[in-house]
Amino acid sequence: MSLKHFTNGLLRENPLFVMVLGCCPALAVTSSATNGLGMGLATTFVLLSSNTLVALLKNLIPDKVRIPCFIVVIATFVTITDMVMQAFTPDLYKALGIFIPLIVVNCVILGRAEAFAQKNRLLPSVLDGIGMGIGFTMALTLLGSIREILGNGSLFDIKFVAADAKTVLLFILAPGAFITFGFLIAITNILKKKFNI
């Protein structure tokens, strides 16, 4: 039973490819696999922490002001992430830039707090947070990998084409993000139909 909460977010309800939530960071920071992974992990931390705290506080928060309360909880953890990343991973912090504070408005996090954590006990909420976070991280890393391989001829900064080889630069620029993401959702649709998930 509990395991289902965890696996839900990985594939069947993948936040990015199935529910299409949190598209802004997904498109903006996935110009390389490393950036996608970093953004995914930062989001996972915030998602896990906010799910945990919301599940613990759900009886204390009045129903009418729950959304502002959730936002304050989320914004607190985002500020922590922001400061930790600035101190320990300065390169990644620079690459992700404004999209770290913007985790606050990532619909995945508020969505899970509202739809899951406030209605469930602690353990399911934690599992749901981890599952959704890993699902989101996998999706961002996949998107980043495809764009990096096609656009730069490398993966996780390891180059496997000649230094002067011509790559499809379009894929690491803005249009490539939209097009790759569009095709990945289409592929998800085909797979869902084929395996009847």
Binding site: C23, C24, P68, I71, I98, L102, P175, F178, F183
Partner: protein, 191 residues
Amino acid sequence: MDYINIIILAIVVNNVVLMQFLGICPFLGVSGKIATSVGMGGAVVFVMTLANLVTYLIFNFILIPLNITFMQTITFILVIASLVQIVEIILKKVSPSLYQALGIYLPLITTNCAVLGIALLASKKDLNLIMSVVYAASTAVGFTIALVLMAGIREQMQITGVPERMKGFPISLITAGLLSLAFMGFSGLVK
């Protein structure tokens, strides 16, 4: 940097949706019809300009003097969320017709990352108060242009044969990709 530069940069060269990926959710969500996208665009212009004015004042006259700029994210999101509420209440009383036109789009704007994103970006740039407001207003105009363009294309797309699995999000995203490619043509416009 003069004002014309800021305006052209914000509207076409660094278009907020197609180049900076802010506000993708409303861009994909409410771009089905031209009429609704104009309504959403109007609401965004209104709120983004006002939000930027307020966050500029708070950042420069409260957060910096008190040396608590790390509270930026929390204060900005709370200010924007309550601002949207206040605007909604005031509009309802003062101008019911405008409320009718923009009303349903206002609550959606709280979760529009473009509003928070532009407030954060503007605070990182070295802009004075008027420049900051002009920057926010022209960014919002750029958002509206992208939204209306997209809605126009999607209205046409409804009568064309899109493959079954490409319907909905996939074809919209690929269309947005092509639009973004077109907007890249503006990149040399301003130095």
